[in-house]
Subunit: 198 residues, 3 copies
């Protein structure tokens, strides 16, 4: 079950990475490179930090998922679709990954507060790497509610799972739902946090 | 004792990270994100490289320190203080961390020369990550004596500790003092190294 | 034998790192810092990902090689040489490292498909880090055949070594040769992949 969630998260973030590269008219290999960095970057950093074996080393399926995502972007010309598919896809990936990342950290014996941070890192660092390597302003700097949604989702997941003793799957679903609602509000309604009153 | 040094280093670098984000008028969460990346980034990379468990995984106190640093920046409006508090704080963090990082590497059986490099990485990579993610020109590129101060401090620490057999605390204090003096000279007096005579 | 290849790869990438810093007229220490990041960055990330001890922790020789590379750039004024030495050196380093990286991953029990990716990461991430920290547009974004050459070289290496059961040295040489031929064609003849037909 968790494995399925992980594949979905990797696929969605990989699509956003390939889209960013396709939009600046890169070739297929560069698109795939960005798909891989974005799709697997956050989870890779999580695994290194919690001392887990890096999740995509044991077999080639995660890499195949990233290639599939690249192919989908390439064939479907998703970079020409109307609206903001990139941001909505990113929101779904963010939600799935903040829950999954904090659950995996808890399962490796990480303390609850760092486990929340691991959920946030899993959810956000793929996108941060994508933006930094592409030379784009990071989504962090755009004053949107983004990290906040991941914090809320990871916190709910850890609270329900560690304190509430709930089954990880239920805790994770609740956490992902919270994150998605908050991020959706930010995208659709322009929710913002107050900036520094400097 | 070392733990205290580590908390001080994390706090100071976290303040510089939060300051950078506050100056470009980001919200509290983004400030905290930058505080965490800057405060814990260098030490995290050090721990990964020397094969130590990442230092902030076992409990939530380091994360609490980063939040405290963010709160301090937010409440005290330190971004409006006169002068260059950011650079002086950064100098203190740099000095504490080049000594601490090389001592920790030595204690994990790293060879002396790589241990010097680990001190330098601990002291500088938090700031490098902060600048790269914020999209600012890295302090590395500004032709100031910055890395040099960390090299000098880490070298003195390793020499006194490994070759001189001195107690780590004494070696570290001496190394940190050297680093601080050199960096202070660079800030206050504009000390520079010769550039490439191209 | 492999150790020799590794030293050559580190040296060549270190030269490219020092050259980038020297060209924007940085001081010796910044040049050395870039030499180290570029020379050892890709291999460091590879070792972290496959769970190997980081290759330059046990002794100071790799760091010495990076300093030597910096000194060579500094003394020989290579930044003023005609032509594009940086790109050709980078091509040689890329070829040696995509072969070496995938062989090392295989020897640590990594599955063949991720082992190809490890070769690509070893070969390309030093340069990616160099460009990101220097604030330059990454070579990834320049629509040249670069990653593709590393993929081809790593794939050939892994196929010959894992499937073909060939000796690693023969497989690696064949892989490196393929990578070099493809990259040379891209530099000298302007070979390109088709961009996204957006």
């Amino acid at each position: 079950m968790f494995l399925a969630l992980d594949f979905v998260g990797v696929f969605i973030f990989a699509v956003t990475g390939a889209l960013v590269a396709a939009r600046v008219r890169q070739d297929f290999v560069t698109c795939a490179f960005f798909a891989g960095m974005t799709g697997m970057g956050g989870g890779t950093i999580r695994d290194l930090l919690i001392g887990a074996p890096v999740f995509w080393m044991g077999h080639g399926w995660f890499i195949a998922v990233c290639l599939l995502a690249t192919l989908a972007v390439w064939v479907l010309r998703t970079d020409q679709w109307p609206g903001k598919p990139l941001r909505w896809l990113d929101a779904i990936g963010l939600s799935a990954y903040c829950a999954f990342g904090s659950l995996k950290a808890l399962s490796f014996g990480v303390d609850p507060i760092p486990a929340v941070v691991m959920g946030v890192i899993t959810a956000t660092f793929g996108g941060v790497i994508r933006d930094v390597v592409a030379g784009q302003p990071s989504i962090l700097m755009q004053r949107e509610i983004y990290v906040t949604a991941a914090i809320a989702g990871a916190t709910v997941t850890v609270l329900l799972s560690a304190a509430g003793n709930l089954n990880g799957w239920i805790a994770g679903t609740a956490g992902a739902a919270i994150a998605l609602i908050i991020r959706a509000g930010a995208i659709a309604r322009g929710w913002k946090l107050p900036i520094h009153p400097g």
